[in-house]
Amino acid sequence: MKRPELLPGTLDMLILKTLNRAPLHGYGIALAIKRLSDDVLTVEEGSLYPALQRLLLQGWVKAEWKMTETNRRARFYTLTAAGRKQLGLEVTQFEQMIAAIGRVLSEA
């Protein structure tokens, strides 16, 4: 079965959302999105890392090296204040859009 593609433009929002609960490393983010979506959404590594760099550049996340519970060094990403604000903004916009799409679809 072909897995549904991530909606364009939503990856950043999903990453910010997972980080909103706790700092995570890249693998953790991918895993969290996958689990929370009941295996529906899969984040490709090919888009995850460029997206993380983008968020870093925008100043929405911070990165620091920490030890994992299995005692391996990993890079953990933390949401910044600006990132939290951005998340709120994107969620609102997304919900507005979904609602709008829903209204159009229910009309038929």
């Binding site: 490393h25 890249g26 590594e45 090919g46 890392y49 760099q53 550049l57 391996r72 890079r75």
Partner: protein, 881 residues
């Protein structure tokens, strides 16, 4: 606009570049390890889990590139590409140097020609609001634009409302006493507002004031910058000084700025106010001036023309004798200055454009050959994850680099070409082309260079990209399936060669036609013998030679002295030498024929008895002048054949009378002879009716001497000047030239000569480039087909059939190139037909010669590779794989 923090973070990352890279690497390997662990946890064998994780993770290098691309600046990859391009060029300096050299020549020549065209045609004239300046003149039955008479000018100035100012100028000349003797100096007479109308302010001193051009005014003069520098040592105190011109004192009121130029009187060194009416200006029918008007705001040139026509019509009614049929022309001043330069400039610009095109195509095909040998490199880059866009960008960068290097080198070539061309133009001609001092690399040229560099870059980039877009990565890596790639290459390369060959044909045909035109022009029927003929102009100071008797005595003395020089066969004196212009005309009326006041305009020349024999003009009927005709009071006249045909059709003109419109008894002259048409006007001008009158009956202050020599006519020129100065050191001389020099320096000869010379050069370069291009294609395709040829020969093909196979390919390309080229050449020649003389655009001998020359050169160029192909050793050829 990106927020400041964003930019700061970006720079921060740029500085800790290595840390970023190692962080990313570690992070990704951690990720991959986690995936691997997950798979093992699910029960996969460690080895399989490792591969699976790697597979799932994808192309790590590509991923890294992309994350890196996120934080990198775009120009960083550009710099990478540039560095790589430089390395490529360093690896193969022969290619890079050849390409840059060819581009530099193509662009440099183009830019140089553009600089000339820019100065001559595009740049606005150096006056205030030059597009509001109009040339104002009369027109008659024979002349589209003719001089304005002083009386008409004064009426036009008084009556018109179209011009905020209407000024007049006319030619003049003075004898100036210099340390080395007496020198005639060209000058101009202008009305007082002339410089104000142009918007030119003197650099030193003042302009003429209103009213200073009236009769009886003080003698004032303005110096040009050149004359101030050359003759008066750039002295700052020149203003207010008095200089002696023609033996009269003139006060210098101002010096014109260095940039000042006025092409219609380009060689004038002194500008003086009109002042008193000279002999000609006392008659309304004598035309010796031109007008310049500045349009009032809101008045169009059309409206001005209509008004001037109406005024001219009014004057026609008022003064029917002098003004019948005299209309008015008003056209932009730029039109009369720039207009004549347009055809030659456009032709040269087009020719240099073609040369640039052929040069670029040549470099493009060089790039194509190189892209062929770089197929593996490209394929490897593609396999390593470089996108087609990125690979294309590499080619664009290389093309850009070549274009820019070529363009920079082209500036050196352009500078050299401009200097070279400027010095090639003879001084006698250059003084009439004031725009030459404006030729240079200005911003117009910079924009033009950048445009052509970008166009060339586009062509250079497009060729390998188009070529490689057909390339299959797998094919290229295996380096197999040669025939397919070969076919693409052949098609692309061959198309380029056809383009090159047809451009070469266009330039060669152009060169052929222009060469033929020039030859025709120089061999046009003169109506006299132009060989062994030396000429000089003699000017007498008006004060010392004011009476006709003094002038005649002087002329006879000049004749006598020069006749006695060694090597002189005969000497003739005339008011105007041949091959000058249809000018100095007279309006005639044939006595006893119907006449309605029309202006029968004919050239009028005053000649000494020995002048026509000295020229070896052909006497058709009657007789020539004798000394008696020249001294007796009775009017006698000789006419040319054209006049006889036009005004005495089917009659014998001998004994008929010619007079002016009002049959003034003083103007009655009897026709005593008819001579063959002597070419009085320019080489490519129409032949006009001409009358020859006895010089000694209407002498003047100036006379032209024609000397027929037995030997070298050039050697006698210094002797002529010496002989004249022996008569009176106060006499001025100028224009000491042989008749052949005169012909070569006429405007039409020079224009044709320059066009021919340049286009010949362009064509020669184009021919070489095209033939080298053809050689490259054929040689390359032979190289690619070595194995095929080996197989054919192993199977029994004869050497001769290998020859014919290769030559056939070359033959097809040449035929296509010549075919397309000839068709375009005829079209191009028709567009540029203004520069052709006595030759049709579809001149068969020229076209045939070009076709033969190109075909021979092409076949010679392809014979070498054909020979190589035919000498292929089948066994070795089969082993080459």
């Amino acid at each position: 606009m990106k927020p400041l923090g964003y930019v700061a973070r970006k720079f921060g990352m740029l500085l800790s570049r290595n840390r970023f890279r190692s962080d990313l690497d570690e992070e990704m390997s951690f990720h991959q390890a986690q995936v691997e662990k997950e798979l093992i946890d699910k029960g996969m064998s460690p080895a399989r889990a490792h591969t699976e994780a790697a597979r799932q993770f994808g192309n790590a290098a590509h991923l890294r590139e992309e994350s890196h691309g996120m934080i990198a600046f775009r120009w960083e990859t550009v710099i990478q590409d540039l560095r790589f391009s430089f390395r490529q060029f360093r690896q193969n300096p022969g290619f890079a140097l050849t390409a840059v050299f060819i581009l530099a020549v193509g662009m440099g020549v183009s830019v140089a020609i553009f600089a000339f065209a820019d100065a001559a045609v595009l740049q606005p004239l150096p006056y205030l609001a030059p597009n509001r300046l109009m040339d104002v003149a009369e027109n008659g039955a024979m002349l589209q634009r003719s001089n304005l008479s002083r009386a008409d000018y004064e009426d036009w100035k008084r009556l018109n409302h179209s011009f905020s100012s209407l000024e007049a100028y006319g030619g003049s000349g003075f004898l100036l006493r210099t340390a080395s003797g007496t020198e005639p100096v060209p000058a101009a007479r202008v009305s007082d507002g002339f410089f104000r109308t142009l918007g030119v302010r003197p650099m030193l001193g003042r302009d003429f004031l209103p009213g200073e051009d009236h009769s009886g005014g003080a003698k004032l003069v303005m110096l040009t910058y050149g004359s101030w520098m050359k003759r008066f040592g750039s002295r700052n105190d020149m203003v207010g000084q008095s200089i002696t011109l023609d033996g009269t004192a003139y006060t210098v009121v101002g010096v014109l700025p260095r940039e000042f130029e006025f092409a219609p009187r380009a060689n004038a060194e002194f500008f003086v106010p009109l002042l008193d009416k000279n002999q000609c200006e006392q008659r309304r029918s004598c035309h010796n001036l031109f007008g310049i008007g500045r349009l009032r705001d809101g008045v169009t040139s059309k409206a001005a023309l209509d008004e001037m026509k109406a005024i001219a019509a009014q004057l026609e009614i008022q003064y029917p004798d002098s003004n019948k049929g005299q209309g008015a022309v008003v056209q932009p001043l730029a039109e009369i200055i720039v207009g004549p330069m347009k055809p030659i400039m456009l032709t040269l610009l087009a020719a240099s454009g073609l040369l640039l095109l052929i040069a670029s195509v040549n470099v493009a095909s060089l790039l194509l050959v190189r892209s062929e040998s770089r197929r593996r490199e490209i394929a490897v880059r593609g396999a390593l994850g470089a996108t087609p866009a990125r690979i294309s960008r590499q080619f664009v960068t290389e093309a850009f680099l070549l274009g820019m290097l070529g363009c920079s080198a082209a500036m050196v070539v352009a500078n050299g070409t401009m200097k070279g061309l400027t010095t090639l133009i003879p001084k006698t001609m250059a003084q009439f082309l004031p725009f030459l001092q404006r030729v240079g690399l200005h911003w117009h040229e910079a924009v033009y260079s950048i445009c052509i560099a970008l166009l060339a870059t586009g062509l250079l980039a497009a060729t390998p990209i188009l070529r490689l877009s057909f390339l299959d990565v797998r094919d290229a890596l295996s380096d197999g399936n040669r025939s397919v790639a070969g076919r693409f290459w052949r098609r692309m390369g061959a198309n380029l060669v056809v383009v090159e060959l047809s451009i070469a044909v266009i330039l060669l045909v152009g060169a052929g036609l222009l060469t033929k035109s020039f030859y025709r022009l120089l061999n046009v029927d003169l109506g006299f013998d132009g060989t062994h003929l030396a000429t000089v102009q003699v000017v007498a100071p008006p004060a010392a030679y004011s009476k006709p008797a003094q002038q005649v005595a002087l002329f006879r003395e000049v004749n006598r002295r020069i006749s006695s020089l060694p090597g002189v066969e005969s000497v003739g004196l005339t008011s105007d030498l041949p091959i000058q212009c249809n000018c100095n005309t007279d309006w005639i009326r044939i006595v006893g024929k119907p006449f309605h006041g029309e202006h029968n305009e004919v050239n009028e020349r005053d000649v000494s008895p020995s002048y026509l024999p000295t020229l070896k003009a052909q006497l058709m009927r009657g007789r020539l002048f004798t000394e008696d005709d020249n001294s007796s009071e009775s009017g006698k006249i000789i006419i040319n054949q054209k006049l006889a045909e036009k005004y005495f059709p089917g009659e014998d003109p001998i004994g008929k009378m010619i007079a002016n419109g009002s049959l003034d008894p003083k103007s009655m002259r009897e026709v005593i002879g008819v001579v063959g048409n002597v070419r009085e006007a320019g080489l490519d001008d129409e032949m006009w009716p001409t009358e020859y009158e006895a010089l000694y009956q209407s002498p003047g202050n100036q006379v032209a001497v024609a000397v027929r020599t037995r030997g070298d006519e050039k050697a006698i020129l210094p002797l002529l000047i010496k002989a004249v100065h022996e008569i009176d050191p106060a006499l001025g001389t100028y224009g000491e030239l042989t008749m052949e020099e005169q012909m070569n320096t006429t405007a039409s000869a020079l224009i044709h000569h320059t066009a021919m010379w340049l286009v010949d050069w362009f064509a020669a370069i184009a021919l070489v480039l095209a033939v080298v291009g053809l050689y490259g294609v054929v040689a390359y395709s032979v190289g690619q087909r070595t194995r095929e040829i080996g197989v054919r020969m192993a199977l029994g093909a004869q050497r001769i059939s290998v020859y014919s196979m290769v030559m056939r390919q070359a033959g097809w390309l040449t035929a296509a190139g010549v075919g397309i080229g000839v068709a375009s050449a005829i079209g191009a020649a028709m567009l540029g037909s203004k520069l052709l003389f006595g030759v049709a655009a579809w001149d068969i001998p020229t076209l045939a010669t070009v076709a033969v020359v190109l075909a021979t050169a092409s076949l010679a160029a392809s014979f070498l590779p054909a020979h190589r192909a035919a000498s292929v050793n089948p066994i070795e050829a089969l082993r080459t794989e």
